[in-house]
């Protein structure tokens, strides 16, 4: 049941959800036994790897697995995306952070943007199981970046699909349908969850603020350890600074200082670029190609 530190964590399944989004199922019974919707894990590929925080997309307690979904954006996620079933990762810690507060609120709206569809799914499912009327909105830049439409439909009473470029579903940003839902007071929306890129979450909270409906966001700030030690993930709320890893990752989006958050997210952009360049160079050289050394 408990793993020893010489052991690694096996990748059992891999699926490409979109050209840049991968799903992986990883054997980690010590994480799955307690995992709940809204929590996250820390993944470290190998000895050289950074500690990558990823929200839990699903879990299977019987099989002792955790499902993670990630977009290949930087060096670490590109590298992770090249691993296959049979490969392992060096570290897998969690479940971290507080789970989503699930109860029967009445009517709720779950918004997932881009790769944010992955973490919103278990939340929508849990809310549905708790008896809520669940309206879901999923959106992406374009059609081939959408995934899990059917899974979302299965746990929602109503599903709205949109793309920025209109290549599939409604041609709109997710902020429009949420405004419409709130405008129609007959909907009586009690609570909203929004997960996606920081800029999307910011504008969802801007859209919902006038209606005063509690809007929960899941923040993915820069973290090192993910256990409360570094404070790098701190976010400014109305009441002061809090740590995303131990106080979150979910917060009342109306209280978040979004401009501060967006600015802190971009602080390491140059280094992220450098890491990607270095990674491509190493792949060409043939060193550390798959992180198996």
């Amino acid at each position: 049941m408990i793993r020893s530190h010489e052991e690694m964590y096996a990748i059992l399944k891999k699926e490409a959800l979109t050209p840049v989004t991968k799903l992986m199922e990883i054997a980690a019974p010590h994480v799955s036994r307690k995992a709940k919707a809204g929590q996250f894990v820390i993944v470290r590929i190998d000895e050289f790897g950074e500690r990558i925080p990823l929200t839990i997309a699903d879990y299977n307690r019987e099989q002792g697995t955790i499902t993670i979904i990630f977009q290949e954006l930087g060096k670490s996620t590109m590298h992770l995306g090249r691993l296959d079933p049979g490969d392992t990762v060096a570290s897998f810690a969690g479940p971290l952070g507080h789970p989503t507060e699930i109860e029967n609120f009445g009517t709720v709206v779950c918004i997932g943007g881009g790769v944010g569809i992955a973490p919103i799914y278990p939340i929508a499912r849990a809310l549905k199981e708790a008896g809520n009327r669940v309206i879901s909105i999923v959106g992406a830049r374009t059609k081939n970046l959408l995934f899990w439409e059917e899974k979302m439909r299965a746990v929602s009473d109503e599903l709205i699909v949109c793309t920025d470029d209109g290549s599939y579903g409604r041609k709109t940003l997710v902020t429009e349908p949420i405004k419409e839902l709130l405008e129609n007071t007959g909907n009586n929306v009690a609570k909203i969850w929004a997960i996606g890129p920081a800029i999307m979450m910011k504008f969802v909270t801007v859209a919902t603020k006038p209606y005063n409906v509690p809007t929960i966001v899941s923040l993915n700030t820069i973290m090192i350890d993910g256990t409360g030690m570094c404070g790098g993930c701190r976010v400014l709320l109305d009441e002061g600074a809090q740590f995303v890893c131990v106080d979150g990752p979910e917060f009342n989006g109306h209280k978040v200082d979004w401009d501060n958050l967006l600015s802190r997210l971009s602080f390491y952009t140059d280094e992220e670029k450098e890491a990607v360049e270095h990674y491509h160079k190493c792949r060409i050289d043939g060193t550390r190609a798959k992180g198996k050394e």
């Binding site: 408990i2 793993r3 020893s4 530190h5 010590h30 994480v31 036994r33 307690k34 820390i42 470290r44 050289f48 790897g49 950074e50 500690r51 060096k75 670490s76 060096a90 570290s91 897998f92 810690a93 969690g94 479940p95 971290l96 090192i224 350890d225 256990t227 409360g228 030690m229 570094c230 404070g231 790098g232 701190r234 976010v235 400014l236 600074a241 131990v246 200082d257 401009d259 501060n260 600015s263 802190r264 602080f267 390491y268 280094e271 992220e272 450098e274 890491a275 270095h278 990674y279």
Partner: protein, 484 residues
């Protein structure tokens, strides 16, 4: 072997300097600063010990290392004996010899120090520890198995010491560590140039192999398993989770880009090896003018890492002058860091701004740090800690131009371990309530020790607490009735 010297002759031998990497060389590398005694130097230094009948040095040691005995064996050239004496009380001498504040402990009590210079006990301890890491002459031995199981939460100095002592008594020990490698603050906090990671892994692996201790990394107790769940599987639990939660000053501007806790900075540099970025994935962004706030050991570590990162950056990209400041509200006399760290920091070019207290961090239009607004202080009447209280000088405000601010202002225990631990009481400071002598908490079968009980302190005091708790746990496991 040297002929037996008379005390007067011993007292004539001068204390041997520690050979160090030259300050100008070492400020651009992360290699160890102190190079260690040669065996000749170690024997000569050991020759200075007067072998007091009533040794005061031992009283100054939190774990009571048998100092005169190991020094005698060392000067007689019997390394195996020296190690045997060492290991009666200290299982991790290569670590203690490097990081203990000897000047206020063993060496502070040394009789030679009253008139001249004390015996360099710490350096001799390190010499013995290093010899043993290379030669492994005196493996730790596990007593006959008791069949009792102990869970140790945290693999820092307190947890490791407790685990090793309980392992030697024949108990089955499992350590749970939340990070990806064992060592706690020894690997995330203390820099490579002060305590090489190979020394930590050497000591840990040696002990773990000898005693069959199981280490579960990536296990966050309070999340993966709760304390109450551990109590279902284990006969006793020791909590040594340290004080890992950083404190930030309550001043405006702490969320600007370029402000970090010393924990973030040191974790990036030490645990994640950011000084080797991009070979290692984790970067660290450091400006040209760094202000480290605080003057404890952590502040010195952060400042000295900054000096090195800046020097490496200058080598790579050239460019302007770079500076690292330590900003401290008291004076030089109150600096809480180990004396040696303070000297090393000075030698490496850290600029000290004493009697200076930050009141605000100022940002530019991109929300990056541009300056630190400070006030000058003067020392007033002594406060509760016995140190003279710094008082603000009116109208002394000034701006210090910096682009990085590192806060080294102390840490408090991480509360996550206390999730689902009914009956385990804590103080208002968030530390676990535990008996100082036995480590017993308010919850039956649970002990605690180290920084999680005392708040941020030293490696050796945590080891002492781990050791005392191990003794009490051992009594409990062997004869519960007698323990009561």
């Amino acid at each position: 072997m040297m002929a037996e010297l008379k005390p007067a002759e011993r007292m004539k031998i001068k204390r041997h300097e520690m050979p160090n990497q030259d300050a100008h060389v070492r400020r651009s590398n992360f290699d160890e600063v102190a190079l260690g005694y040669s065996s000749e130097t170690a024997k000569e230094e050991a020759g200075r010990c007067l072998q007091c009948k009533d040794p005061k040095c031992v009283l100054g040691c939190p774990v009571g290392v048998m100092i005169p005995q190991f020094i005698k064996a060392l000067r007689e050239g019997d390394m195996e004996k020296a190690i045997e004496w060492m290991k009666v009380k200290n299982n991790l001498p290569a670590i203690c010899g490097r990081v203990c504040p000897q000047e206020s402990q063993c060496e502070g009590n040394c009789i030679l120090g009253k008139k001249g210079e004390s015996v360099a006990i710490g350096r001799l301890e390190r010499f013995v520890g290093d010899y043993e890491l290379r030669h492994r002459t005196c493996p730790l031995v596990k007593s006959q198995k008791t069949g009792k199981r102990v869970a140790v939460v945290g693999s820092g100095p307190a947890g490791l010491t407790c685990a090793v002592d309980l392992g030697r008594e024949g108990h089955d020990v499992t350590i749970f560590e939340s990070l990806h490698g064992p060592g706690g603050v020894l690997i995330y906090g203390i820099p490579e140039f002060r305590l090489p990671k190979s020394v930590v892994s050497g000591e840990v692996n040696y002990a773990v192999e000898c005693l069959g201790i199981d280490i579960k990394t990536d296990h966050v107790i309070g999340r993966s398993f709760t304390l109450d769940e551990l109590l279902n599987e284990f006969d006793a639990v020791f909590i040594g989770t340290g004080a890992g939660l950083p404190s930030f000053m309550r001043i405006p501007g702490i969320n600007l880009n370029g402000v970090m806790s010393a924990n973030e900075f040191l974790t990036r540099v030490n645990l994640m090896k950011a000084y080797q970025f991009p070979a290692y994935d984790t970067p660290v962004k450091l400006g040209k003018k760094v202000a480290v706030i605080g003057a404890g050991n952590v502040a010195m570590d952060a400042a000295r890492c900054s000096i090195r990162l800046q020097a490496l950056e200058a080598k790579k990209n050239g460019g302007d002058r770079r500076e690292v400041h330590i900003v401290y509200r008291r004076s030089k006399d109150e600096v809480p860091a180990r004396l040696e760290e303070f000297h090393h920091a000075e030698e490496e070019g850290v600029i000290f701004c004493f009697l200076t207290s930050p009141v605000e961090i100022l940002g530019d239009d991109k929300r990056n740090v541009r300056a630190l607004r400070c006030v000058k202080m003067e020392l007033g009447e002594p406060d509760a800690s016995g140190r003279r209280r710094p008082v603000e000088i009116r109208g002394s405000e000034f701006e210090m131009e910096v682009d990085t601010v590192i806060m080294a202002l102390g840490t408090s225990p991480n509360p996550v371990v206390f999730v689902d631990a009914a009956g385990l009481e804590r103080t208002i400071h968030g530390t676990a309530l535990a008996d100082q002598e036995t480590g017993r908490t308010t919850k039956r079968r649970v002990w605690a020790g180290g920084d999680v009980v005392t708040g941020a302190a030293t490696v050796i005091s945590a080891m002492g607490a781990g050791k005392r708790a191990a003794a009490d746990i051992n009594t409990f496991l062997k004869d519960e009735a007698a323990w009561e």
